[in-house]
Structure formats: structure tokens, C-alpha cells
């Protein structure tokens, strides 16, 4: 019984490998853009506090839209394919990332930041040496959420021809192919574990450097 699953996996190795690589591609590109965008947005919010409510409300509103609906809305503008998928996934991530970055920074004792500023640290030094290291655990929690949600929703993006593991899952559902559904799911879950592990290593390295 289990042998049948493994022989199916080995027999269709290229299919699974290609889908997995595509999936990793979408997730990686999405995460890189998401992190950069959320860094810029949080920086803007720290400069102009009135932006916080507007942006967080906006992204929480978008986050509430089901992915299928958001894909459908964007197809007339950006067409089919992984470009549209990356846009949608990036916008979803902004809610998770922004919320956590801001929660992390707001959670710091104001006296600590005040002391740093009063001692003559520049705003950039305060951000790099005080705010980011102290907010790091909360920001990392947001990143983990973003990775999980991106890897999951990216599978749905197969319905707009974005490629990835969703292709295998959807085709498995259409043809009632249990092997495809099971392996597609398992690989998705393994991907999340892998990404989470990489993030953990990165976090440890960055924390060491800052100290």
C-alpha cells in the first residue's frame, strides 16, 4: 500500500520536482518583495503616525477577501500567471507583517527609546540597535505566519495558471488521483517546515550580529 505511494512519487519524479521548484520560486519571490515592502511601509508609518490606522485597516480589509475573489478581480488588469499570484500573496502578507512589526516596536518600553535618543543615538541607530533587536521575536512570529500563509495560498494560485504544487493538487482532485493529492499536501507541509527552519537559522545569525 505505502509502496504504491512511493513508486508513484518516484515514477513521476520530474512532475513533483518541477511543481515543487515552481512553488518555492513563487514563495521566495513573494516573501522577498513582501519583506522589503513591509519594511518600507513600517518605516513610513514610524515617520508619519497617522498612516498607521489607514494602512493597517486597508490591508486587514484586503486580507478578509478570499484569495479566489482577489485573483478574479486582478485577472482583467494583470492577466493570468504567477505575476498576479505574487501580487495577491504580497498584499496578503502586508497585513501579517505590518501588524507584527508595529506590535513589536510599540511594545518596547518608551523609556528605553527615550534614553537612546537622549544619549545622542540617531534615529537610524535607535532603529538598528534598539528597536529592531527588541522587536525581533515578534517580527519573526509575523514572518512565520507569512511563510505559512504564502505557501498555502500559493497552491490555490494554480487556478490562475501560476504553476506550483497547486497544479498537482487540482489535477488530483479532478481525476480523483489520491496519490497526487496526498503527495501534493505532504510536500506543501514539508516546504513550510523547511522555510521555517531556514528562518530560524537566519534569525539566530542576525541576532548575533546585532549584539
Amino acid at each position: 500500500m505505502i509502496e504504491a505511494y512511493f513508486s508513484y512519487l518516484l515514477g513521476h519524479g520530474h512532475l513533483f520536482a518541477q511543481a515543487t521548484l515552481e512553488h518555492i520560486g513563487i514563495v521566495t519571490v513573494t516573501l522577498v518583495i513582501s519583506i522589503l515592502l513591509s519594511a518600507v511601509l513600517s518605516w513610513l508609518i514610524l515617520q508619519a503616525k497617522w498612516l498607521e490606522d489607514i494602512l493597517v485597516q486597508l490591508f486587514s480589509g484586503i486580507y478578509a477577501i478570499p484569495s479566489m475573489a482577489l485573483f478574479a478581480m486582478l485577472i482583467p488588469i494583470t492577466g493570468l500567471g504567477n505575476g498576479t499570484a505574487i501580487i495577491v500573496l504580497t498584499v496578503y502578507n502586508q497585513y501579517l507583517l505590518l501588524k507584527n512589526i508595529l506590535a513589536g516596536i510599540h511594545g518596547i518600553d518608551p523609556a528605553v527609546v527615550e534614553a537612546g535618543r537622549g544619549m545622542g543615538m540617531s534615529e537610524l541607530q535607535i532603529l538598528r540597535r534598539i528597536q529592531l533587536p527588541l522587536a525581533a521575536p515578534v517580527i519573526a512570529a509575523g514572518l512565520r505566519l507569512a511563510i505559512l500563509s504564502t505557501t498555502g495560498i500559493a497552491a490555490i494560485a494554480a487556478c490562475i495558471q501560476a504553476g506550483g504544487l497547486g497544479v498537482i493538487l487540482f489535477s488530483g482532485m479532478r481525476t480523483m488521483n489520491v496519490y497526487k493529492m496526498v503527495w501534493g499536501t505532504i510536500i506543501c507541509v514539508l516546504l513550510v517546515f523547511l522555510e521555517d527552519g531556514i528562518l530560524r537559522i537566519l534569525q539566530r545569525k542576525i541576532c548575533k550580529e546585532v549584539h
Binding site: 527615550e114 534614553a115 537622549g118
Partner: protein, 256 residues
């Protein structure tokens, strides 16, 4: 030359009923230990924050050794003014040594000079370097944290120190000890200190000069003896009466 001079300084926070600083003028001699006394929200903290430009004045001038602070870059200016706040504000993710090394590192001191400075400062505030260097702020008592806060502000040997109720959250016995040590440090270094407090005993004990403020106005500036002998106006008199009332009430109660 005066160490610190304020000329007709005004400051009002948006939406506040009364100004935080109402036409405040004062000239402080070099080496003076000035305690700033007044009720909460009377402008004491705002006053010292205009000196290191954590607050900007609406009008008037703040001069340090004759130089208008407006002409200095605020970040550069602050690196040469010691600043200690109530809860010490130590960086919780850094050790005691790293906390004290903050400004020297920014100023680019040699590692050896920083290491020696840290040890010297810790001894100055009566903490054993071997024991405390590698500890984190959370492993210290409130009094010890405040000692580290002092060491961190003193390491660059700034000519002016601003202290914003540094001992406000410390128990009475440790506060006494810290006051005595600060007094000793001041007598040895003759730095110009501005020390905010709402504790009249502390103000009279530490200050070579005492500054009394109410509702943004400077009511009296003089030596503790002058203030006790000739209180300027009702507010100062009332403030001094609280000093007597507390003890005499207790003494009466105890039949002394």
C-alpha cells in the same frame, strides 16, 4: 561664562491649558548642582529637555557656554550632555558593559579605552566590575539599574548632566545612598548638574542651588538657605510648610 542660560523661553504643548514654560529666564554658573523642584506637570522635565533638544522651544534662547543650542545638530549635542531618566532606560538586550559602552562606541573610542572606562565608571558608582559587567538589566535591582544609568551617562565625562527624577522609583534607603554618591561624584567632578525632582528634601539636600517652578513659571532660584530663609511668594512658602508639617505631625503623634 554661564554653563547654561535660558533667555525668555516659552513652550506650550498643543491643547494644553497652561504653558509648560512661561517666559523662563535663568543663568546657571559652571559647576553648580541645580535641583529643579515643583509639582508634576509644572514644566520641570520640559525645561531640561529644551537643553538637549528633546523638546524645541517656541520662543526664546537656550545657551550652553554661550552657544545657542539651536546652532548645534541635536544628535551631536546630546552626545556631549549626560542624560539620566527615572526608570534608567537601560537597553534590556545589552549587558551592563554594553549599555555603558553605547556612546563611546558611537564616538569611535578604542576598545581598550572603552573597557577601562567601563571599569572606572562601575567603581565610581560602587558596583564591582567583575560581578556586574556581564549581567543584563533585568538581573539588577532598581537601585543598581540606576547606578548603571549614571555610569552610562558619566563615561564620556560630559560637562553638563541632566537628571530627570533619577531616584523617583527607588526605595527610601537606597535613594539616600544614591543621593550621597551623586553628591560625592559632583563634588569630585564639579560638573554642572540639573536635577529634576518633586521631593523637597531631595532638592534641598542635593542642590547647591534650588529652582522652584509652578505652572511653567520660575518662582525662585537660590541656595537652599536662601529659599528656606526668604521664600518668594505663597507657593514656595506652602511647599516649605509641607516639609515641616509631615515631621511635626508625626512627632506630635508620637509625643515627641
Amino acid at each position: 561664562m554661564k554653563a547654561v542660560a535660558l533667555n525668555h523661553v516659552n513652550k506650550r504643548f498643543p491643547g494644553a491649558a497652561c504653558p509648560a514654560l512661561d517666559d523662563v529666564s535663568i543663568a546657571i554658573e559652571d559647576g553648580e548642582f541645580v535641583t529643579i523642584l515643583g509639582a508634576s506637570g509644572c514644566g520641570k522635565t520640559t525645561l531640561i529637555k529644551t537643553i538637549n533638544r528633546l523638546q524645541e522651544v517656541d520662543s526664546g534662547q537656550v545657551l550652553l557656554y554661550g552657544k545657542n543650542v539651536q546652532d548645534s545638530d541635536p544628535v551631536q549635542l546630546r552626545r556631549h550632555i549626560g542624560y539620566v531618566i527615572q526608570k534608567a532606560g537601560l537597553f534590556p538586550h545589552m549587558t551592563v558593559a554594553e549599555n555603558i559602552a553605547t556612546v563611546p562606541r558611537i564616538l569611535g573610542w578604542e576598545p581598550d579605552r572603552i573597557r577601562q572606562g567601563i571599569r572606572r565608571m562601575l567603581r565610581l558608582v560602587a558596583l564591582e566590575p567583575e560581578e556586574f559587567c556581564q549581567r543584563y538589566p533585568l538581573q539588577l535591582s532598581g537601585g543598581q539599574q540606576q547606578r548603571v544609568g549614571l555610569a552610562r551617562a558619566l563615561i564620556t565625562d560630559p560637562p553638563i548632566m541632566l537628571l530627570d527624577e533619577p531616584f523617583g522609583a527607588i526605595d527610601a534607603i537606597n535613594r539616600e545612598l544614591l543621593q550621597d554618591e551623586l553628591k560625592r561624584i559632583h563634588e569630585a567632578s564639579r560638573k554642572t548638574c540639573l536635577f529634576v525632582t518633586h521631593d523637597i528634601r531631595e532638592a534641598l539636600k542635593l542642590g547647591t542651588k534650588v529652582m522652584i517652578m509652578n505652572q511653567g513659571r520660575l518662582l525662585q532660584y537660590g541656595t537652599p538657605a536662601e529659599i528656606l530663609k526668604q521664600p518668594a511668594g505663597d507657593f514656595v512658602r506652602q511647599l516649605l510648610e509641607t516639609l515641616h508639617r509631615d515631621t511635626s505631625y508625626l512627632m506630635d503623634g508620637a509625643g515627641i
